[in-house]
Symmetry: C2
Subunit: 301 residues, 2 copies
């Protein structure tokens, strides 16, 4: 079989990334609408950046579930807006105090701190708006459940809670279980939400299958973080597009500082295998999810 | 007719305020659940403070529409959590840099800036969660519309946008129209949302009636701000429970600096009259809304 550019993973991912950029441009308020500076800063913080891993996971899960593209676009945008808001707030001086993100000055550097604060706040509101403006599931009650899923994944028992746990433990020695607790919340919750929200846009799926997808998301979310820690320790700033070595410099616990690079890589490989295993029953329909799993573990940036 | 404590406005408001405090305590994550410090700071920022004007408006609109108390409790909590998050973020050093709120140290003073940032973020997520965990309307599609209403009222075209407009105009001379634009967004949007969300918890209401309620909210929301400006200029810090004279000191445009105190009071009275007029058709069912309108304009703190 000839692999053409639309069929191979890189072609699939690039096509979605390119198309999705236009989708985000359309969903974000135009920067000639008041308040103009806030809207410009929101666009600056979301557009033209990132690997769009979470949207791609939503698209892959949506394809698996036979969802309309217009529906998965909305959940992908919602998840990416939550992700973007968390980066804007995390980069602020009172949090990680970072000046570079995706190869560009961070939002509070390019604009100002007050604007960055409001950009994050407004992106979160817009994310929830994304999930309720159009029917995303034949059953509106299921759509309410989708909103709940995103709210829980974003809040104090999800992403924001993981961030709080992270801050509370700077400079402390964490056990492997504690580090895992932190990352399952900080990055894992939103990755899992991306996959499930994509799947909910499609036809009804048995709970057991949703649980399998969720387990894939849990494993790949954790693998994502382990790989991030390895890259942060080994790659350079130019390749990453953000300040390398930052976590170790800040005395933050990472998988590399806790396990060493060799064991951390082994852990990533094991999580990768477990993730792929949980997709077995889906056969070829899960192809893109599998490829994303491979990409997350094999990436160099 | 004898006015007993349950029947007069003060009795009605106190009973709701007291009951609602327990409701909020129950809806907020317990502070012995991880991340404990974040949850403690969320509770610190929401509980034991404020006049609960927005919840009372939701309750009054809910009573008008014959809504179950358990439903209006959820929308009232959602709106109050959005309000509380906005106060926590607005008080931060990069925004208004205030140290006193509701007679207590502000969240970033009592905890720290990073925690305050995450408190606001987490309260916003929790607000949306409040709106989707239980059926709030017989029609789930209408409940999705309620989520949209809160998202729009909170975001860059609502409350957060008003705040951005406010920041962009510190030290500038604003026209009355610009000042009104700012406040209709900054405080008005959430007040209107509180009323409509309360009404949506009840039986179906004709669009014309909803428009009347919304007009009441628009007028009373603006009156609320005009009165706030008058109080800020005239009352003292101990009475307000927050730093008095702050806005004028910060060179922020207010109705008092723009119109003078006499004209500002006249404007509040006119808005009050217009608000009450839009309730005429509801008769005695709108009694609590009318009383809240009176309270908002007559209050001394």
């Amino acid at each position: 079989m000839t692999v053409n550019s639309a069929d191979d993973f890189q072609g699939w991912a690039s096509a979605h990334q390119c198309r999705f950029e236009a989708v985000l441009k359309n969903f974000l308020p135009a920067d000639d609408i008041a308040p103009q500076r806030l809207h410009a800063a929101m666009r600056y913080s979301v557009l033209d950046g990132g690997k769009r891993v979470r949207p791609l996971l939503a698209f892959a899960a949506g394809e698996l579930a036979g969802a309309d593209q217009a529906k998965t676009d909305r959940v992908a945008a919602a998840v990416e807006m939550i992700h973007a808001y968390s980066l804007v707030h995390d980069d602020m001086p009172c949090m990680d105090d970072d000046v570079l993100r995706r190869g560009k000055p961070t939002c509070h550097v390019e604009y100002d701190e007050a604007t960055a604060l409001l950009v994050g706040d407004s992106l979160q509101s817009l994310a929830f708006q994304m999930l309720v403006e159009q029917p995303l599931n034949a059953n509106p009650a299921m759509q309410l459940k989708m909103v709940r899923l995103l709210a829980v994944a974003s809040g104090s028992r999800g992403m924001a809670g993981g961030q709080a746990f992270d801050l509370a433990n700077v400079g402390k020695q964490l056990s492997l279980a504690e580090l895992e607790f932190m990352h399952i919340h900080k990055t894992g919750a939103l990755i899992r939400a991306a996959i499930l929200l994509g799947a909910y846009c499609g036809g009804e799926m048995p709970d057991a299958q949703l649980a399998r997808l969720d387990h894939f998301g849990k494993c790949i979310g954790l693998a994502f973080q382990v790989v991030d820690d390895v890259l942060d320790a080994e790659a350079d700033t130019a390749t990453l597009g953000k300040t390398a070595g930052k976590d170790a410099d800040n005395d933050k616990p990472t998988y590399v500082t806790l396990l060493g690079a060799v064991e951390a890589k082994k852990m990533a490989a094991e999580l990768h295998a477990e993730a792929l295993q949980s997709l077995d029953e889906f056969g070829s329909a899960a192809r893109r999810l599998r490829e994303l799993g491979d990409f997350i573990v094999m990436r160099k940036y």
